[in-house]
């Protein structure tokens, strides 16, 4: 067992997770902006994203394997697909939750719709959007570990190797950092969210 592998594999794991979340989160964010004035479309898109979310990770990876072959691409596409729903629904919900009074105030002050969006709506919705990003990131860490079965890299490599050779040490060398990554992201972003929520609440 080579402990020196843990570092690079952790970085590779984070790389997959971040790229996947940026792509999926970007799509989710853009879709949320597009559907925010179209509630019917919002229901359809969120429903579709929910179907994707319901699919078990390994089944989705298996389907994508047929389309994209073995390798990191398949994993990144899967991570992107899973990141759409949390960011889409939270962005939509966050923007929806902004008190219209603030929008009226902004308008009354002569702000353009773009300024209202950037300076009022987005900052007020940010804690909720951040919660979506957190869920997307933590989900991605889990899916990325099973990405090893479709030829992806990351900490799953160590877990899988450990499982195959019944080598507990190797297994734990992959499992412990992966668990820590998920926990750190969950706790760190939750704390940040709480601080932001408190800041916006006290400003009101």
């Amino acid at each position: 067992m080579n402990l020196s592998e843990v570092g690079p594999l952790t970085f590779e794991h984070l790389y997959l997770v971040i790229i996947g979340t940026i792509i999926g989160g970007g799509v989710g964010f853009a879709l949320a902006i597009w559907v925010r004035r179209r509630p019917n479309w919002a229901a359809v898109l969120i429903g579709l994203a929910e179907v994707i979310q319901t699919l078990p990770g390994i089944a989705l990876l298996a389907f994508l394997l047929l389309a994209f072959g073995l390798g990191d691409t398949t994993v990144i596409v899967a991570l992107g697909l899973y990141a759409i729903l949390p960011v889409l629904s939270n962005t939509y919900e966050g923007l929806d939750g902004v008190d219209p009074v603030y929008l009226a105030i902004g308008k009354g002050m002569g702000m353009t719709p773009g300024q209202i969006f950037r300076q009022i709506e987005l900052p007020l919705a940010f804690p909720v959007i951040l919660a979506g990003v957190r869920v997307a990131l933590v989900t991605s860490i889990g899916i990325a570990t099973i990405g090893v079965f479709v030829g992806g890299g990351g900490l799953g490599v160590l877990i899988f190797r450990g499982l195959q050779t019944i080598d507990t040490q190797t297994m734990l060398a992959g499992a412990i950092p992966a668990a820590l990554l998920a926990i750190l992201i969950e706790v760190g972003l939750s704390l940040w969210e709480r601080r932001l929520a408190r800041a916006t609440a006290s400003k009101r």
């Binding site: 990770g57 298996a62 047929l66 889990g142 899916i143 099973i146 479709v150 734990l172 668990a179």
Partner: protein, 217 residues
Amino acid sequence: MERVRQPNHASPRATPVPGRSGAGAWNHRGCTTWYHLDPLSPLVIAVVSIVQTIPSLVFFALLIPILGIGVQPALIVLGLYSLLPILRNTYVGLRSVDPALIDASRGQGMTSWEILYMVELPLTAPIIVAGIRLAAIYLVSWATIAALIGAGGLGDLIFSGIDSYDTTLLLAGAIPTALLALVIGFVFGRIRHLVTPRGLRAEVVTRRDLRTEVVTG
């Protein structure tokens, strides 16, 4: 949306729930039923939320050294894991019941138990079922992964399909797995609708109430 300021004298753990006004909501609620009283519950929920972020493959890998492999360890892991979303949703649901309703019930002379099963549980039922639904969907996914520790199931087909690059085998495992998750999600969605008290059905259950925190593969 109505926002509530954090009352200074309240416990720092007592997070104000949007839509509820009045300082000291926590203290006010604190004297109704046991789950409000227990000062450990926020801690338990925090721990549960953290444990729930641990990915499936990692969870199996962490527990194999202790439990070994086979059907039984897989069942233990699945059982443990399914506790988490159900516990969490039940707690969040019970806490989200409007304290005015509890007050009104007590004013009518109901005991704490009567309030629990005649007022709070019916109101919380949709959220509890949402937790069961989540747990069931997760378990389809986790049970597939459990094939790796010798528990069998559809995961066997998927993994041997990947190993031998046999598309038919792969799909024979992946399609039923996906359908199983979708059907279970749909059925529990219907159950959630059925257990929603009739008076609340018209009211849109906010997504925030049902929000899934984490889905791990």
